[in-house]
């Protein structure tokens, strides 16, 4: 009997612990971020509006622990504070799971929905359901081509093809002849468009290399193997900031002279630009994407405003070189660029 009692006690203790943890989770983000945001709020004032506390849900195709989407979230949360919004974020890299998350948002009857359409076919049906249920939808980051057809108000992001073309042009300006485009996410339409765009405008030859973005050591090893086997590659273009770091390490171990360039910024990319281990970066301003998505939804709910005139609202491409890097260092360190 004593053994059963300790079993009950143990279960009770665990239940209590989970409950406590869940209550902590319930109160949006805890810990350091709340502290920082509190500081921000104090500096920038509390909610600037007196509209009711609407609920907006953002459902993205992000994997776990993706720094890019962290920045998008920060922007969205800043706008949410300003506009008195209850901001909910969820993500899954698998199309079906992402669709299920959108369905739960519809079930919760949220007041606004923000989605990323990296795999448009998986999301088509469920976005239509949201639109039919009267929930305004804004798409962000991926899927500018499908956004309007799916019934979204507008798309905020960068046109991936145009961004790719900008990369191709920049590579030409720097006199590169043979480039490698590293795609880290299978099935991402936007990634394919970037590499295709770069190939289009690039004067030299460009190859695609597919790696598993969820396994960083594997990414590094794959790039290294490629640089080892083909010594004539003089530029490597990665499609995400963390992958630039892996590419730099791969370059060192392979003893290659290739220039590493990347899409998207983060603190280490900024440092890399400053110390010239990276050539250039193409930023799509994720903070702006998140911020605008929430803010524009608020404007729609408040005033039926729609930005873009039927066309996507572009946040990039912005080509960042060594000179710009100094100015941005402070912001990348803060985690908002």
């Amino acid at each position: 009997m004593a053994r059963v009692r300790t079993g009950v006690r143990a279960t009770g203790a665990v239940l209590a612990a989970v409950l406590a943890a869940s209550l902590a989770g319930c109160s949006s983000t805890g810990g350091k971020r709340a502290e920082e945001r509190a500081a921000q709020q104090a500096a920038e004032g509390r909610a600037a509006v007196n509209t009711p506390r609407w609920t907006f849900a953002m459902v993205t195709h992000s994997g776990d622990g993706d720094t890019f989407w962290d920045i998008v979230q920060k922007g969205a949360e800043q706008a949410a504070v300003k506009d008195n919004i209850n901001f909910l974020y969820s993500h899954d890299a698998e199309g079906q799971q992402q669709a299920e998350l959108v369905q739960t948002a519809i079930d919760k009857k949220v007041d606004g929905l923000i989605v990323s359409l990296a795999k448009p076919d998986s999301m088509k049906a469920v976005v239509a359901k949201a639109v039919k249920a009267g929930i305004p939808v804004i798409t962000v980051n991926s899927g500018s081509a499908e956004s309007k057809a799916f019934g979204a108000l507008t798309h905020i992001g960068q046109d991936e093809s145009i961004a790719g073309e900008a990369v191709g042009d920049e590579l030409d300006e720097r006199g590169r002849k043979k480039a490698l485009c590293v795609l880290h996410e299978q099935g991402n339409v936007g990634h394919e468009q970037r590499c295709a765009g770069a190939k289009k405008t690039f004067g030299g030859t460009m190859q695609n290399l597919y790696v598993d973005g969820t396994n960083m050591p594997d990414v590094q090893a794959s790039i290294e193997a490629k640089l080892d086997s083909d010594r004539s590659i003089d530029a490597v273009v990665t499609l995400g900031a963390p992958f630039a770091a892996a590419a730099v390490k791969a370059k060192q171990t392979a003893g290659s002279k290739a220039e590493i360039d990347t899409f998207d910024l983060n603190a280490s990319v900024a440092t890399g630009l400053q110390d010239e281990s990276l050539g250039f970066a193409v930023d799509q301003q994720p903070y702006l994407q998140g911020y605008q998505a929430v803010d524009l939804l608020w404007l729609y709910r408040y005033n039926r405003n729609v930005l873009g005139g039927g066309l996507p609202v572009l946040t990039g491409p912005q080509v960042i070189t060594r000179d710009d890097a100094d100015a941005l260092a402070e912001y990348t360190n803060r985690g908002t660029r």
């Binding site: 059963v4 943890a21 869940s22 199309g95 076919d121 597919y210």
Partner: protein
């Protein structure tokens, strides 16, 4: 005959303790996990608003059904003493084959569906044959199949379709009728019930029937409990094991067709990791990892618990960064509760 004549055994044997029917009920492998399911339901009903509303029921049941369809045959396999780590990606393979075959051959979509059934069953048979021929642990064999299928999914799709995802076949003949069978839904008021729920119920019913009312089911228990003993009394161990892997493959085919006809375009990289979720659902439902004990109904309850937990966390608006932590914690709790209930039920005092 030397045995002394025995009087007819008394109707209630005085050596048997009177156990309440409720306790006997709680001792069954699956009904202990029902207690866990009720606990999870109550928990999220309190903690999450919109969890109990009608539309959420459809969402949770759908999430449970996509896991449950696979968890039923996986549970049978586990009772038979084996694992299948390739189950997750086999679903994707099945969807890819249907789509690519139909498109490349410009055939009626049903032809592709049928070919996919044959090939997927072939994968299952491969698992079974490798296991019985090499006598290596099923963990290793199916791990190999898992890696091979993952690579085949990507490589084959890129080779034939040119990209990592298949071409849309929504406008091909047979698509609409196939969609009705594999990916349609019924809307009752606020509740949207997807057809996978029907498939799930049917598969669980058939699996339960096989397990407890057929010879094959007796063999499954025996092979999982003590394969040498089974072999010694003439149970066809090899046939039983291969049959179990074919069962998993069949369910993978059903799930794959659902995936294809829901979204038309199939991503070749998906499915990795799901095999563990099926195993979790079976174990929560009372299947012993070592084999010889468990039930298909239990796997259904396990799938429901998983569906409720994964969606309930989102309804409850918990911090999404902690999603996986909460999911794991709740599943552990549900399993502990199940085990505790069963122990209490079996205790005599």
């Amino acid at each position: 005959m030397t045995a002394a004549g025995q009087p007819a055994a008394p109707h209630t044997d005085e050596r048997l303790l009177r156990t309440s029917p409720l306790r006997k009920l709680l001792g069954r492998p699956e009904l202990g996990s029902v207690v866990g399911a009720v606990a999870v339901l109550l928990f999220f009903a309190i903690v999450a608003d919109s969890f109990l509303q009608a539309s959420s029921l459809g969402t949770v049941l759908y999430a449970a059904s996509t896991i449950g369809i696979m968890a039923a045959p996986v549970a049978l396999l586990m009772i038979g003493g084996e694992f299948d780590l390739s189950a997750g990606v086999m679903v994707t393979s099945s969807a890819l084959i249907s789509s690519m075959f139909s498109y490349q051959m410009t055939a009626n979509v049903w032809v592709g569906v049928f070919v996919s059934l044959l090939v997927t069953l072939g994968f299952g048979a491969f698992n079974g044959f490798m296991l019985t021929r090499t006598k290596l642990p099923s963990f290793i064999i199916t791990l190999g199949t898992f890696l091979m299928l993952t690579g085949l999914n990507l490589g084959f799709t890129k080779l034939i379709s040119g990209t990592v995802s298949t071409k849309a076949i929504g406008n091909m003949e047979g698509f609409e009728s196939a969609r009705k069978v594999f990916a349609s839904h019924l809307t009752l008021g606020d509740v949207e019930l997807k057809v996978t729920i029907l498939w799930w119920a049917a598969l669980v019913a058939i699996a339960t029937w096989i397990l407890i009312r057929t010879r094959f089911g007796n063999w499954i228990f025996a092979v999982g409990g003590e394969a040498d003993a089974a072999r010694a009394v003439g149970v066809p161990v090899i046939r039983t094991r291969i049959g179990l892997y074919l069962g998993v493959a069949f369910a993978a085919w059903v799930s794959g067709q659902h995936l294809l006809f829901s979204y038309d375009v199939v991503q070749s990289g998906e499915g990795v990791g799901n095999e563990l979720i099926y195993i979790i659902a079976a174990v929560i439902g009372g299947c012993l990892i070592t084999g010889g004990y468990g039930s298909a109904i239990g796997s259904a309850v396990g799938a429901v618990i998983f569906g409720m937990t994964s969606k309930g966390i989102v309804y409850a608006e918990w911090n999404p960064d902690w999603f996986k932590f909460f999911l794991g914690a709740m599943l552990l709790l549900a399993t502990l509760l199940n085990a505790w209930v069963r122990k209490r039920a079996e205790a005599t005092k």
